[in-house]
Amino acid sequence: MIEDDELITDDNIARVRDLLACMQKGNEEDAIEIIDELTTIRETELYQDMGKLTRELHDAISNFGMDDSINIMAEQSIPDARERLKYVISKTDEAANKTLEAVEESIPICDNLNNKASELHESWKKFTNRELSADEFRTLSKDISHFFDKTAELGTVKDHLTSVLLAQEYQDLTGQIIKKVINLVGEVEDKLVGLIKITGAPQVTKKSGGDAGTLDGPPVPGIAHKDTVSGQDEVDDLLSSLGF
């Protein structure tokens, strides 16, 4: 910007007076000369201003680069965060598989014991109703003894339950890691805002609505979702409104 006091100087006022006098006299040649003079003065100041602005921008960008934290972020923290998130995936995967294994091995044991217990219950009812023959009673007594042996497998089920319990440790570990990554994302956001301020880029307005083709994945609490249903009941309502 050209300051008023830089433009309105005695010299410049004299020049304008001369210009007016030349024009009134019809002296075109001198008038053009004075206009050129004034233009040169004006351009020089403009270039000085531009130079100053360029210097400021340069300094700002250099300072931005010299800010160690941003280098650390780019070279260390972000790759680090990537590794952390990979670890979260592997931890949750491991926990899910450990849990599923334990459950898959426990279900048949429970089913088996449950079926055996039902059978024994039937026989026992017959016994108390005095409907069992001596032979049948001997079989029942053998079955009961066999069942007691089988109940030892409940120890295995308990072990599996303990392993399910332990597998839940992933929540604590992954929670801490994700918290760190959230903090990092916050820092990166601050730096980016700083960069946008320096470059003076116009504020980007968020596009409203998403593309029809993109998939949102699971709804995340705390993030607004447009035109989504919440839960199975609303899905069922929507589908039944479509004649399902």
């Binding site: 998939l215 699971p218 709804p219 989504t228 919440s230 199975q232 899905v235 929507l238 589908l239």
Partner: protein, 123 residues
């Protein structure tokens, strides 16, 4: 009754398989996306398709459309089990001919209800 379970996450396939087994469906196979699933379906061995939506390769909705466009497969009941909860997506799946739509996370009871509904309808 042979069922094909399609999901890109092995743990989700395993959960669905376990739930199905609990409901008495022991005969299940797995595929990790539509591209793998479609040739399996074309063998004609399957009576029901349970599929996720969001998968790499071929997505569940495209698999559904491909099934409905194939004259040998078009009558297979398709149950979608997905985290996608956008109304327009549910409508899209309905228009593409889905037989049931379950949103994750879901319960064993919901899976049971939807399967019963599907089987009641096809008789």
């Amino acid at each position: 009754m042979k069922i094909l379970v399609v999901d890109d996450f092995s743990t989700m396939r395993r959960i669905i398989k376990n739930l199905l087994r609990d409901l008495g469906f022991n005969n299940t196979d797995e595929a990790d996306d539509g591209l793998t699933a479609l040739p399996m379906l074309k063998t004609g061995k399957y009576d029901l398709l349970v599929t996720d939506w969001n998968m790499p390769g071929m997505q569940g909705i495209d698999l559904l459309k491909a099934v409905r466009a194939d004259e040998n497969l078009q009558n297979i009941p398709v149950l979608m089990v997905t985290a996608e909860q956008k109304k327009e997506q549910i409508v899209e799946a309905a228009q593409a001919g889905v037989n049931g739509y379950i949103v994750k996370p879901f319960t064993a009871l919901i899976l049971k209800e939807k399967l019963e509904k599907i089987f009641a309808r096809i008789g």
